[in-house]
Amino acid sequence: MKQYGMIIDLEKCIGCHACAVACKAEWEVPADQGRNWVQRLGPETTADGLASTYYPGLCNHCDQPACVPVCPADPVKMEFKDPKSGAVKVMEVAATWKDPFDGTVQIDKNRCLGCGACAEACPYGARYVNPNLGEEGKADKCSFCVERTALGLAPACVQTCLAGARIFGDLNDPDSEVARYVKRGAIRLESDAVKIGPNVRYYGKKRDLALLVASCAPKSMPQASLRRIWLARMFKPVVKGVKKETLFDLFG
């Protein structure tokens, strides 16, 4: 089984924001949103001296994604196929899930209710609701460009990166460049309170990583609003199990 992941090499990153803008064009992301982002950090004094670096962020395709279990869409049986081995696995999934073969977290935009619970649940702020999709908007986030990689193309952000600072690959393959970075000490952006196995890792000078973790690691797990989830279930178009009358039971 694969676990796709990305390394951000902060020794190389020059903070040019090309990744963020290329993604906008690739996936028609609204101007005021982003599937990925770059923040400039510092200069600040750290234990290892003055530091200044960047936080190029994106969906971490976590080992235990907080966004998946909160999705209120009705579960359906979905067949996953490993393109390499041909192995098939059937899972019951809501409108977002973690792929059993490549480890990416994906969204079915057709079944997404656009409620935004997943966006609330993500401690990294990696999801948003794109109001231009569907009638009422749909959740959107970085897909690791699996649609592109399936065709042998690099993810849009990786392709445009002049610095070669974004490296995409299979973390479970010990010979991959991303795995080699992990061995060399690429870190996860996490804290004691938030340890859900992010698969984007950061590599860089000790002082820069210290600055990154201090300023950008999430400090707590956010809670998706239950009310939002309920409401979404009330109003979704074809509902199994929950009927419209329930609305009055609950709020009437």
Partner: protein, 749 residues
């Protein structure tokens, strides 16, 4: 208004055939081509056609592009994988070019100002009307006051042809911001030293030491150049950065020298003296390829490390460490020549010092050194040389001025009519409001002249002052530039390329290319018989012809022609070179400079000290903007909506300022910033300096996104220097105080 009957009723009863005018803009198509649109965005790689031949102009670096076009609509720009320079990569600005193409605020049709300059009332007119009127007004001015009474402010690839034309008509009063407010100083200093302009052709990719004098790579982004820089770092090059601020480059540096602004030449002198004293210079190169060594050595003699450490406010040990690092790694040292080098009005001497240091280290035509990339020979098609009337050359007071005339000389002549009147200003792709300091004087000059014509693709601060405003095609809709060069890594297999800008999409609205516009003007001004090319396509083909190429051939080659090239390195051991200088050698001491009563070897000319209670206003680049040109780009705006003012944490604490405070500024002349910005409190800047990115704070309200976003540094630069040798504008010479909640705060530790 009162609606008396319903639509249905009206349709049932009324008869209105007389009012219906047939106008068919839609033709029946053979096949409807519609599929149900999926909910998710399809991605740029599905259902698109890849078009080649694009060349970026979001900045002047001109990366080669491909366009992903879905049904005539450009959905994404990518680097042309065939490019020897940028490959598949482009920067944020390059990626955002689509938002320029499809910006609703674009200039769409020729406009005539029927209101006032500065508060225009626009009326769309036809191209014929616009050209007739422009030509008529220029003709009257030229006839009455001579051709030199027309001044031109050009910028960008499309401005080359107009520049040549107006020079041909007989005006020397042409001022390119890219020279007089940017790289002209550097080019002239290196011309005087090495006999050629260096561009940024310094082999960082293969250097053992990269030495940046104020150059803030990372904030200053040009794709192939940054690839060279990063490869050098990856290969273990030591990075030395002189900068009063912990810049993007400083954060990657092995040695950051937080130098006092304006003292770089003193630092460089002391470094060179140290190299001379320790014998750690390339003695063979100096002996065989340089001249004026003795005078040079004498000129450096005063520059002790103690003196420089005090002058530059840096530790002596750090200065010596830098000098020894450079000396130990000669000749593979990349002394970056910089690009924007018009800082204090003493800049020619600093650039000379950088050039002399390069020579002293023998860092020429070697890995890591200053190199001269060889491209393919191209043709030319231009207007003939102009004949200037006697004594109309305003640039004569600046013997080492770059091509054209110093901007300030044009502006002052416009305002004073001495020695002669200047009655027309033409801006072509340049925004002189934000390129020239002291905006009040620029605006006064714009209001004084008889005619202002501006050609651009977007509203800019300058376009508010136009009488006639002409829309150009964007770089994605036109032919123009032809570029040649070599592979980005000089040590890789030598290759050369030729690429030409070709349109990626059909043009929108009524933009025209500059060859068409100029030719139409020329016909009306009586130069129809002298037109060198009938169209931009012919121009491009003439440029390509000597290489055996044409637009058609380049199209077949996916936009880029490549062939085997020439290594930019001299054969190992070669230390004797001939240069295109007066002496044929690298001029460590220049007789020519000396005979014009300037220092023949690099001299340190101090700049004014910061007055008590003020900080020096220093500006630089944002990686997501090309100054004011890109401010209205909604994607780029989202990435960096304003330009934070960097201030030293101790100064801020003393003034009671906090990170994130909203502030304005006032300068030494009481000029206030028009807008506010956010404060960035950091230990990463000297206490005597504040910094922000240039280009923000556009005043033209026609820029829906960009107007009044952040602070326009140029609005605060009313004290500026004029470089004595070149006439270029030094702009890090104004001082400011921060204003918060109406209180003006003292800047002190």
């Amino acid at each position: 208004m009162g609606i008396k009957i319903s639509r249905r009723k009206f349709l049932q009863t009324a008869s209105l055939a007389a009012a219906a005018l047939p106008l068919s803009r839609l033709a029946r198509a053979a096949e409807p081509g519609l599929v149900k649109k999926p909910v998710a965005a399809p991605g740029s790689f599905t259902g698109t056609e890849t078009r080649y031949g694009g060349m970026c102009e979001m900045c002047f670096w001109r990366c080669q592009l491909t366009g992903k076009v879905r049904d005539g609509r450009l959905v994404k720009l990518e680097g042309n994988p065939k490019s020897l320079e940028n490959g598949s990569s482009i920067c944020a600005r390059g990626n955002a070019g689509i938002q320029l193409l499809y910006d609703p605020d674009r200039l769409k049709y020729p406009l005539k100002n029927v209101g006032e300059r500065g508060a225009p009332k626009w009326k769309r007119i036809s191209w014929a009307e616009a050209l007739d009127e422009a030509a008529e007004r220029l003709k009257v001015i030229q006839k009455k006051h001579g051709p030199h009474s027309v001044a031109l402010f050009p910028h960008g690839a499309s401005a080359f042809y107009p520049l040549q034309y107006f020079e041909f008509t007989g005006t020397p009063n042409i001022s390119e911001a890219s020279f007089y407010q940017c790289r002209g100083v550097r080019d002239m200093a290196y011309m005087s030293t090495f006999g050629f302009a260096p561009n940024e052709d310094v082999d960082m990719a293969n250097a053992k030491v990269i030495f940046l004098v104020g150059t803030h790579l990372g904030e200053n982004v040009h794709v192939s150049h940054l690839k060279q820089y990063l490869k050098g770092l990856e290969n273990g090059a030591k990075l030395v950065v002189l900068d009063p601020r912990f810049s993007a480059a400083a954060s990657k540096a092995d040695i950051w020298v937080p130098i006092k602004p304006g003292t770089d030449t003193a630092f460089l002198q002391a470094v060179m003296k140290r190299l001379l004293d320790t014998g750690k210079y390339d003695q063979e190169f100096v002996a065989k390829s340089c001249t004026g060594f003795d005078q040079f050595k004498e000129a450096m003699a005063h520059a002790t490390p103690e003196w420089a450490a005090k002058t530059c406010d840096v530790p002596k040990a750090q200065l010596l460490q830098v000098a020894d690092l450079l000396g130990a790694n000669l000749p593979n040292v990349a002394v970056h020549p910089g690009r924007h080098t018009t800082w204090y009005g003493n800049d020619f001497q600093r650039s000379r010092a950088q050039a002399c240091l390069t020579a002293l280290l023998g860092a020429y035509a070697v890995p890591g050194g200053l190199i001269r990339p060889k491209g393919v020979k191209l043709g030319a098609a231009s207007w003939g040389h102009g004949v200037f009337a006697q004594d109309c050359d305003l640039s004569k007071f600046w013997p080492f001025h770059p091509p054209g005339t110093p901007t300030d000389a044009i502006r002052e002549t416009t305002l004073t009519a001495k020695p002669y009147p200047i009655k027309a200003w033409i801006a072509w792709g340049q925004n002189p409001i934000q390129t020239i300091p002291d905006q009040a004087r620029t605006i006064a000059a714009l209001k004084k002249v008889d005619f202002v014509m501006v050609t651009d693709i977007m509203p800019m601060d300058i376009t508010m002052y136009a009488d006639i405003l002409l829309p150009e095609k964007t770089y994605l809709e036109r032919y123009d530039y032809v570029k040649t060069g070599m592979q980005w890594d000089p040590a890789a297999k030598p290759q050369q390329f030729v690429a030409a800008r070709m349109p990626l999409v059909e043009p929108l609205f009524e933009g025209r290319d500059s060859v068409w516009i100029v030719n139409e003007l020329a016909k009306r001004l009586g130069h129809g018989d002298k037109i060198p090319v009938a169209s931009i396509e012919e121009h491009v083909d003439k440029r390509l012809a000597p290489a055996g190429l044409s637009i058609a051939k380049l199209k077949a080659l996916e936009g880029i022609f490549t062939q085997d090239g020439v290594s930019p390195y001299a054969p190992a051991g070669k230390r004797e070179f001939e240069f295109d200088t007066e002496s044929g050698k690298v001029e460590l001491f220049s007789e020519q400079i000396d005979s014009n009563d300037f220092a023949g070897s690099p001299a340190y000319v101090p700049t004014a000290e910061v007055p008590a209670g003020y900080a020096r206003l220093v500006y630089g680049r944002s990686p997501v903007h090309s100054f004011s040109r890109t401010q209205n780009n909604i994607w780029l705006h989202h990435e960096m909506p304003e330009n934070p003012l960097w201030i030293n944490d101790r100064v801020a604490a003393k003034a009671g300022l906090k990170d994130g405070d909203r502030i304005t500024m006032v300068n030494q002349d009481g000029v206030k910033s028009r807008n506010s910005t956010v404060l960035k409190v950091t230990p990463g800047i000297r206490p005597d300096t504040v910094y922000l990115a240039h280009g923000y704070g556009s005043m033209n309200p026609e820029l829906t996104v960009g107007k009044d976003q952040g602070i326009d540094d140029q609005s605060l630069i009313t004290l500026f220097g004029i470089d004595r040798e070149t006439g270029a504008t030094g702009m890090r010479t104004s001082f400011v105080k921060v204003v918060k909640d109406g209180r003006t705060l003292e800047m002190m530790v």
